[in-house]
Subunit: 143 residues, 2 copies
């Protein structure tokens, strides 16, 4: 069980590493490529199936020149061949400008997102099947 | 498998029935009472464990004199002893006023929430272990 928790934590970490790197190939390695997967980005409707999920990451990566996550309050639950992680994403990011160019620290903005990530056990590790992130209102208390 | 999907749909329906009725006892029957459960209401941080989850429902029920859900786009996935439902909650609600009183149709407001509900198989049926709902931005396209 402790091995499972560690493996799920590693898969969860790979997800955020791919996100920070804006690396679509690494993100593709994190996810199960199937019709049953789903992603809900903050403020977005739910998208289902690998083509839609991959398309959303491509769009986000193209419009996010810089993003950094500080993950807090993570909790891992393993139930047989399914696991889920709940955590807070404390985000520092730069949003894309049409002209591109270097990232200036003054362009950075912060956000707090509550997320759940669901993984399913595959033969060679855990694959993400669901990511749902939602904005936490400013001034909301800590849980 | 079709029996499982139907049973998960029934558990999911019981969740929204309890929510619409503002019935804490019925809501208690829907959930697993454990430390591993979590709820993320729209704009809220994630709350974990049955006491915190139950307390949030109590607070919501006290401040929601009327709420009606029209559920659309639901998708059920069963993976062994865990299942999850993704769906859109199209919400018509009245928010509480300090004086209470009858609900006037002019006080009603609408909202669209993208939700995921996770269930775990128990001896006597499926129990909710996670609910995460997040606001869909006005003007967001359908998935």
């Amino acid at each position: 069980m402790q091995d499972d928790v560690a493996a799920v934590r590693a898969a969860n970490g790979a997800f955020y590493s791919a996100f920070e790197a804006g690396d679509l190939d690494a993100m593709a390695d994190v996810w199960e490529h199937s019709d049953r997967i789903a992603v809900t980005h903050p403020g977005w409707p739910t998208l289902r199936g690998w083509p839609s999920v991959a398309g959303s990451w491509d769009a986000i990566f193209r419009n996010t020149p810089y993003i950094q996550f500080v993950l807090t309050g993570d909790d891992v639950v393993v139930a047989g061949d399914v696991a889920w992680v709940t955590l807070d994403e404390n985000i520092l990011q730069a949003t894309g400008s049409p002209g591109g160019g270097a990232v200036d620290s003054e362009e950075l903005s912060g956000a707090r997102v509550a997320a759940v990530n669901v993984f399913v056990r595959a033969q060679d590790g855990w694959r993400m099947v669901l990511h749902h992130g939602s904005p936490v209102s400013a001034g909301a208390p800590d849980a």
